[in-house]
Symmetry: C2
DNA sequence: AATATTATGACGACTGGTCTACATATAATA
DNA sequence: TATTATATGTAGACCAGTCGTCATAATATT
């Protein structure tokens, strides 16, 4: 379900997602998206009568969903929350460096630009964050965390990752990611003091 | 030094900062900035020959500096790092709710949109984050934190706050801030288990 | 009076997103 | 098979908006 059939519609969505992540939502014109996807101008409004906003929402959903899948798979394989974080960190660092710190979180920029102006994009973003939170919560539950501390901790993990990714991108170093993850891991393994 | 004399130059900077925070950098036209500041088009290029990018950098520096001052003052008054975080949280929550979740971090959106494309804006952002980190580090040092854990923790705090603010804005709730700050406070007060 | 500094708004080359009208392909119906 | 019907894809016009430049006017400073 991740990489769908290469219809024009999907070409548009993924081209948009890529560009939005690097240049932001407002900074990306429909021209860019069309050029990157090789789709003709008029076809866009055939697939997305809602125009740019609808493409934005679809891009957030698609890119966010890909991250959700990565999270879920990693959570299954990892040996507890702390190990999960370290594995994900490794991926993150590789992606960041491979793109010369151009590819950060695929949805934050778009969401910050359009919140709370666009309800469609906002809804898509909230749904994605909810999915991520659920994966984290399941993982914490499986590590026998106390029920009442699961939801807050899941949120804190996502917040920490998002913030660290932002700092890393701006500073052009992966150090903030390591620092933040180290702090999170301290919380996740209270045993190893 | 916070609210400078009301010259045209400063009017432009603060109008730009306000608009960039709410609508993003690309989403804000010079038109909007000029209208909001009541300055004529040509005057803009008198004060900022570098055009929009230079205004962006100036806005990041100005808005970021204001936050630095708030941090510094709060750090002086607060009773330790955890108390500092709780006080700042109270401010943050008030600002967010007062603006109907429109006013988030005044520099993140602009930075995400322009990094690493614009070196001028990027440099301004890095300088601001460095200042913030220094305030946090000083505070941790005064709380007798071990030297080698100060810098990472300072980064983790900023990352957590940034991420929490992002989530709060998108979700339209202040809950993520409380959750994240609670986690950070657990790290800052290892005594109260 | 002569010279900097500050301030101005019209202009141009271009891009923004959106729309309407048209062409083709696939499928359903008669 | 012939004829609709529906989905898919295309082309270009449209105007408000983008940023930046310029020649000029008003004001300060010497």
């Amino acid at each position: 379900m991740a990489i769908e059939k290469k219809s024009q519609r999907d070409s548009l969505i993924w081209a948009a997602a890529k560009l939005f992540r690097r240049q932001g939502y407002s900074g990306t014109g429909l021209r860019d998206i069309l050029a990157a996807s090789g789709v003709a101008r008029g076809s866009l409004y055939h697939y997305f009568p809602g125009g740019k906003e609808q493409i934005g929402a679809a891009a957030v959903t698609a890119a966010g969903g890909l991250v959700t899948e990565t999270f879920a798979e990693l959570a299954k394989q990892a040996d507890g929350p702390a190990d999960f974080l370290r594995c994900y960190t490794a991926l993150l660092v590789r992606w960041l460096e491979a793109s010369d710190f151009q590819d950060g979180c695929p949805i934050t920029t778009t969401l910050l630009e359009t919140t709370p102006g666009s309800t469609a994009i906002g809804d898509a973003g909230r749904a994605v964050f909810a999915d991520w939170g659920e994966v984290m919560a399941d993982m914490l539950a499986q590590a026998d965390w106390p029920q009442d501390r699961i939801a807050p901790m899941a949120t804190a993990i996502i917040a920490g990752l998002e913030g660290a990714l932002l700092l890393a991108r701006v500073q052009g170093t992966v150090q903030p990611i390591h620092d933040t993850v180290a702090a999170l891991c301290t919380l996740l393994e209270p045993t190893a003091a």
